[in-house]
């Protein structure tokens, strides 16, 4: 098989079109650079009726939206999931890691929860606070100007709260809380748990003429047809294409970064999934943004005489320090919400309020915090609605089960009467949580796959135990009844398996010391000055915060550094 080489030499080849790649595409192309954007999945445009799932009714799906082919159900806008046919990964026996991938233009930004939390000053220097993990080579002050610009460019609602480690930004106003959220606010305050408006990248007030304003359908997970939520496709890639400087390659699975005899990157080679041929693109710089683990995989698979351990991986740090958020959840029956009046309660996706971390770890038996997310309300039925509809009768002294008209009454009585809460916490990055190349397995494109090795430590398990204690404490204040059993020691207090929260980061971390990090503070490889990694791989630690906003800010900063470095001919 011959490798087909393109004659064009790009200023930058960007691999992956999610948050990091989308931002790099926008900044670099608008500065006049010739950019190749290489995406492993198909084209996707949330505004095109062909792709739209927004505002579909459950009966439009024969399985009523069940998750038979998409992990989060038929109407979710993520192609892919924790398992993809033809693209396996493996795990070291005795360890767990579930890897969520979404190969499509915009990647996972098409379906995510839009929870957009800045990291705070402590989050960049947490080793200084508790001696654990490592500090970032940058501080909050270094990245603050970029967070500010991301806020204004993309749009985020929230509120100014003046909390030290939850810095305020340039917020659009928040939506008003719904009924179940008013109950949560009341309960959380009584329990001494901080509660504030959510911070989400959803446009509640117009930010420009290109993007629409939220019309409150609760369906950001389906990607917004009026571009009122942040998807990399609609908010970054499509605007960038207007520059005329972007060549978009879809269904293009990158195998490796190619290098010259000096060890510098010369481009990438990829498999075109449509004709199964291998192609090579040439570029002056390569910007990896394929997701933390996919970029690490490309790095480790890019072996050459100059880089026998994978490109820029002389330190052997690539793949290590992989960490995902901790997570655990519980549901409650709220008797006050029985027999509610029904009205249109659709809001922005998910929650209008949340609890940022509010405690001091010095007084606790675990390090690092978590935030609390919540759900509930009069949602649209889909597959699973009505399951065990009459079970809650047990809480009101009535018989469970049954059939006939009584069931209709039960469905109606308990509609909107339950709430769910979930904790999302910080896991400390460890060298011995890692992904590596499996020496024996390839995917259907012939590319060696990742093998994961990940375990939770006592730190995370104790943190999750605390989450559950808090959940019960909060809901007890309003007399809500916990559903199911509180997870105990035997199930590690219900901690979600690693990878399940889909915040995996850290696999090509940044640092000042080339021996203990892959990237410098500009997400530039220590060993290969024209390769950058702008996804979550560069994170030294993840805070208890969803990583997207930080990926965007760092990618913006790095992209401008690339422009400057190219101009001054340093690369």
């Amino acid at each position: 098989m011959q490798i087909i080489e393109s004659p064009k030499v790009y200023d930058a080849i960007i691999v992956g079109s999610g948050a990091g790649g989308g931002m790099a595409t926008k900044i670099l192309s608008e500065a006049g650079l010739q950019v190749a954007l290489v995406e492993a999945g198909p084209f996707y445009d949330p505004t095109d009726p062909k792709f739209m799932t927004q505002l579909k009714w459950p009966w439009e799906s024969p399985r009523r939206g069940a998750g038979s082919t998409r992990a989060f159900g038929d109407f979710d806008a993520a192609y892919g999931g924790w398992e993809i046919d033809g693209e396996p990964y493996t795990r070291t026996p005795g360890t767990k890691f579930d890897w969520f991938r979404s190969h499509m233009l915009g990647g996972r930004t098409n379906h995510w929860g839009r929870i957009s939390l800045r990291f705070g000053p402590n989050d960049f220097k947490h080793k200084d606070v508790d001696g654990l993990g490592d500090n970032w080579p940058i501080s909050y002050d270094d990245i603050k100007p970029y967070y500010d610009r991301v806020d204004k460019l993309i749009g985020i609602f929230g509120s100014k709260e003046g909390l030290y480690n939850e810095p305020d930004g340039f917020f659009l106003p928040a939506p008003k809380p719904r009924l179940h959220e008013l109950y949560y606010i009341k309960a959380a305050r009584q329990a001494g748990v901080k509660v504030i408006p959510s911070r989400k990248s959803i446009v509640t007030k117009r930010i420009n003429d290109d993007r629409g304003v939220c019309f409150y359908c609760s369906q950001c997970s389906r990607a917004c047809s009026v571009k009122a939520d942040f998807s990399s496709s609609s908010a970054l890639v499509f605007p960038a294409q207007k520059s005329g400087n972007v060549d978009l390659f879809v269904n293009a699975m990158v195998r490796e970064v190619s290098t010259d005899s000096n060890g510098l990157a010369t481009g990438v080679s990829y498999v075109n999934k449509e004709d199964r041929q291998e192609y090579r693109l040439k570029g002056r710089t390569v910007v990896l943004a394929a997701s933390a683990c996919s970029s690490a995989r490309i790095v480790m698979n890019s072996k050459s005489g100059q880089h026998p351990n994978g490109i820029g991986n002389g330190s052997d740090v690539t793949g290590k320090y992989l960490h995902d958020s901790t997570g655990s959840s519980r549901s409650f029956f709220v008797p006050q919400l029985m027999d509610r009046k029904i009205y249109n309660e659709d809001g922005v996706a998910g929650m209008h309020v949340y609890s940022p971390w509010w405690l001091d770890n010095k007084k606790l038996d675990f390090p690092r915090g978590y935030h609390i997310e919540l759900g509930g309300g009069l949602g649209m039925p889909s597959y699973g609605f009505g399951f065990a509809a009459s079970e809650m009768n047990m809480f009101v002294g009535e018989q469970t089960g049954g059939y006939g008209d009584k069931l209709r009454d039960d469905v109606r009585k308990y509609y909107g009467a339950t709430m769910g809460v979930a904790g999302r916490g910080e896991c400390i990055a460890r060298e011995d949580n890692y992904c590596e190349i499996d020496p024996n397995v390839v995917d259907e494109w012939g590319i060696p796959v990742l093998r994961f090795n990940y375990t939770w430590s006592d730190n995370e398990i104790k943190q999750v135990k605390h989450m559950h204690e808090t959940f019960e404490e909060i809901f007890d204040k309003i007399g809500a009844i916990p559903l199911g059993d509180k997870p105990g020691k035997d199930s590690n207090y219900g901690i979600a398996d690693p990878g399940r929260i889909i915040h995996e980061v850290g696999t090509t971390r940044m640092g000042d010391d080339p021996k203990t990090s892959v990237l410098n503070k500009y997400q530039q490889m220590h060993e290969v000055k024209n390769v950058f990694i702008v996804d979550g791989g560069s994170f030294v630690s993840q805070a208890d915060k969803n990583p997207t906003w930080t990926i965007l800010a760092l990618s913006m900063r790095t992209s401008e550094y690339i422009i400057e470095q190219l101009k001054s001919k340093n690369i």
Partner: protein, 234 residues
């Protein structure tokens, strides 16, 4: 279904919780090109369309099984007032699809139907679908109430839980079911807070400090402007 399992399932439904393309126009084929899916278009990938098509063409249940399911569905959810029955909402067809889509449901469903026929035969000398109304009631009453059912019919209780779940979910995800439930959303809207009468009924109120952080929906279409400190100016 034991209690813990049923709790888990109870939560499922209640919480949501190589081609170079230049410019904006994709040269790739749309996801739905080539086949006209019988299921309608709901943003499917080509592989998903093909899978749906295959499932629709496949047969799993026999005629007798489908007839039994139809009888059961309408016993679980008969017509009521202005709203039609499970059969009126097409629930048996939905269950037939689910059995093909989720293969792990096949043995519990098929075996459960057989268990029920066997039970009917032993008690009344005929299969379930041919029983009289009072015989149906007697058969269902012994498996429809998990808390008082005898251990002897444990498998029947489990089957009936499954049938009840599928019937309810199949019903309330149709237009008829959504109308019966009264769900009002899934349409463009402007959320501007809990209605006053609902707040009053629950003895709750918005506090002023919180409301000050919320969107004044009259201004939603004005382009946002901030001062240098992130204070919104409009």
């Amino acid at each position: 279904m034991d209690r813990r399992e049923s709790m888990k399932s109870m939560l499922v439904g209640t919480l949501a919780g190589g081609l170079v393309i230049n410019g904006c126009a994709p040269s790739g084929e749309p996801a739905s090109q080539g086949v006209t899916p019988k299921t309608g278009l709901y943003g499917r990938m080509p592989a998903e369309i093909a899978r749906d098509q295959q499932l629709i063409e496949d047969k799993f249940f026999s005629e007798h099984e489908l007839e039994t399911i139809a009888v059961l569905c309408d016993l679980i959810l008969p017509a009521s007032g202005e709203f039609g029955s499970a059969n009126d909402a097409g629930v048996p067809e939905f269950i037939a699809f689910i059995a093909k889509d989720m293969r792990y449901q096949q043995v519990p469903l098929r075996g459960g139907l057989m268990w029920l026929d066997n039970r009917a035969n032993r008690k009344f000398g005929t299969n379930f679908k041919s029983c009289t109304g009072s015989q149906h009631k007697e058969l269902l009453d012994e498996i429809a109430y998990p808390d008082k059912a005898t251990p002897e019919v444990g498998q029947g209780v489990r089957f009936f839980n499954l049938m009840r779940n599928l019937t309810l979910t199949g019903y309330y995800t149709t237009k008829m079911g959504i109308d019966a439930l009264g769900y009002k959303g899934n349409s463009p809207n402007v959320w501007d807070g809990v209605p006053d009468d609902v707040l009053a009924e629950h003895g709750l109120a918005y506090d002023e400090e919180w409301l000050a952080k919320c969107i004044d929906q009259q201004t939603r279409n004005e382009i946002a402007k901030w001062d240098d400190n992130g204070n919104l100016l409009n």
